[in-house]
Symmetry: C2
Subunit: 245 residues, 2 copies
């Protein structure tokens, strides 16, 4: 049962074993904590559910909490005073949010589909790190990963064409959805506008590139939120910038 409320609500704070049954523990920062200490972890983590359209981290606000995404997708973005928006990333299952260099968050996080979270207060996370130093190592690994992703995105935003940006986006989504590389079809939880704000383009340009890719028989669009990649080799080549067309 999903709860879609105006404000974040605690779903099951009383059950002490939610971490044991959590589907993302093995792939998230939490696997720094041994199974034998699950109760300890569960005591520090508060499960939440956020409805689509609601924000749970706001740029500029004091950074008091950390979150582990256990389901759904959130967009992370920064705004300019006149409303221009840049989405810096999409956070899905296993993503850890809230690492802040100063005392305030550097971006806003908004659910684009219902999001399930584990919340840690700063105090509790600090205590956990104290008791399980491997957790800090995991967080550092995670931050390095984010850093590499951000650098790749800077290359995209600064130097790639619209076609290359959309190809990179699709290739990245496909890789994340199916690391093995077998799947050809994927679900896009975000709108064209959100893709545009992620790629530094406009809605119209994103739409036109999708249409052209389809006309060129490189992709199929069974619905607005589904894409089938018909030519993965071509897609990856275009994404990497090694194509003249």
């Amino acid at each position: 049962m999903h709860l879609h409320r105006a404000r974040p609500v605690v779903v099951s704070a009383s059950t002490a074993d939610h971490c044991l049954t959590c589907g993302v523990r093995t792939t998230s920062v939490c696997n720094a904590i041994p199974d034998t200490d699950m109760a300890r972890l569960a005591g520090a983590a508060e499960p939440l559910e956020i409805a689509r359209g609601h924000t749970f981290i706001e740029e500029g606000q004091p950074a008091g909490n950390f979150y582990n995404v256990t389901g759904g997708t959130a967009k992370l973005y920064k705004l300019l005073p006149d409303g221009r928006q840049q989405i810096t990333g999409f956070a899905g299952r296993g993503h850890f949010l809230g690492l802040a260099h100063s005392n305030t968050y550097a971006f806003t996080a908004e659910a684009i589909e219902p999001v399930r979270l584990c919340r840690f207060t700063r105090t509790r996370l600090t205590a956990l790190i104290h008791d399980f130093p491997q957790l800090e190592q995991r967080l550092l690994d995670f931050a390095c990963n984010e850093l590499a992703t951000a650098q790749e995105q800077m290359l995209l935003l600064g130097r790639k064409t619209a076609r290359e940006r959309v190809a990179s986006f699709l290739a990245m989504r496909l890789r994340e959805a199916d690391p093995c590389g077998h799947a050809r079809e994927m679900h896009l939880p975000m709108t064209r506008g959100e893709i545009a704000d992620y790629l530094g383009l406009t809605i119209e340009t994103v739409s036109r590139v999708f249409s052209r890719f389809r006309a060129e028989k490189r992709i199929a669009l069974p619905s607005n939120d589904r894409v089938v990649v018909l030519d993965q080799t071509w897609l990856r080549a275009l994404a990497e910038g090694s194509m003249e067309d």
Copy 2:
């Protein structure tokens, strides 16, 4: 005396006290190590000097070393197969380089003016972290800082105009050169081409924006590598995107 050699050379590996006299220790990750253990730190850190134009980190190469910049400036960049370049940042005094999510570096680092470095092998840094856990905390802090900077840069690259990008660059440089905000003049060690590759523009556009700012009496350009900011309020407002002009 500066050494400009084709390959990195060890400057003073034998002196065991170079860390005690290092000007950047108090502001770098090294201050996680207490003064009493300076010999330990000095034993793990190898001072190097890199000549202008030489690279000391190469994208895709195995990430075996970490570096602390103690002087000079390096550009960090990624390349597309056809030569398009995106500079992801400039690393100056106090910067820590080499954090990699995988086993290979995600970017190339090249000296744009003679760079002084402290090199740590992975093995030695791991050992240091083991003995001084605060060091890992410092690294995490540093990575979070980098992450926030990268997100700010994504906003710039994805959503700001050419004028706003150049203004942001100048404002950032001024802030870094003089955090107190007193200085108006600064040195730019990078060429117009490097500024362009950092801001996702062309050389010509950067040059034109500089010229226009000068024509508008907002800045002065005493030489190619010096800028005087005549109107800081205006500069910051334009950088933040809160101006129509």
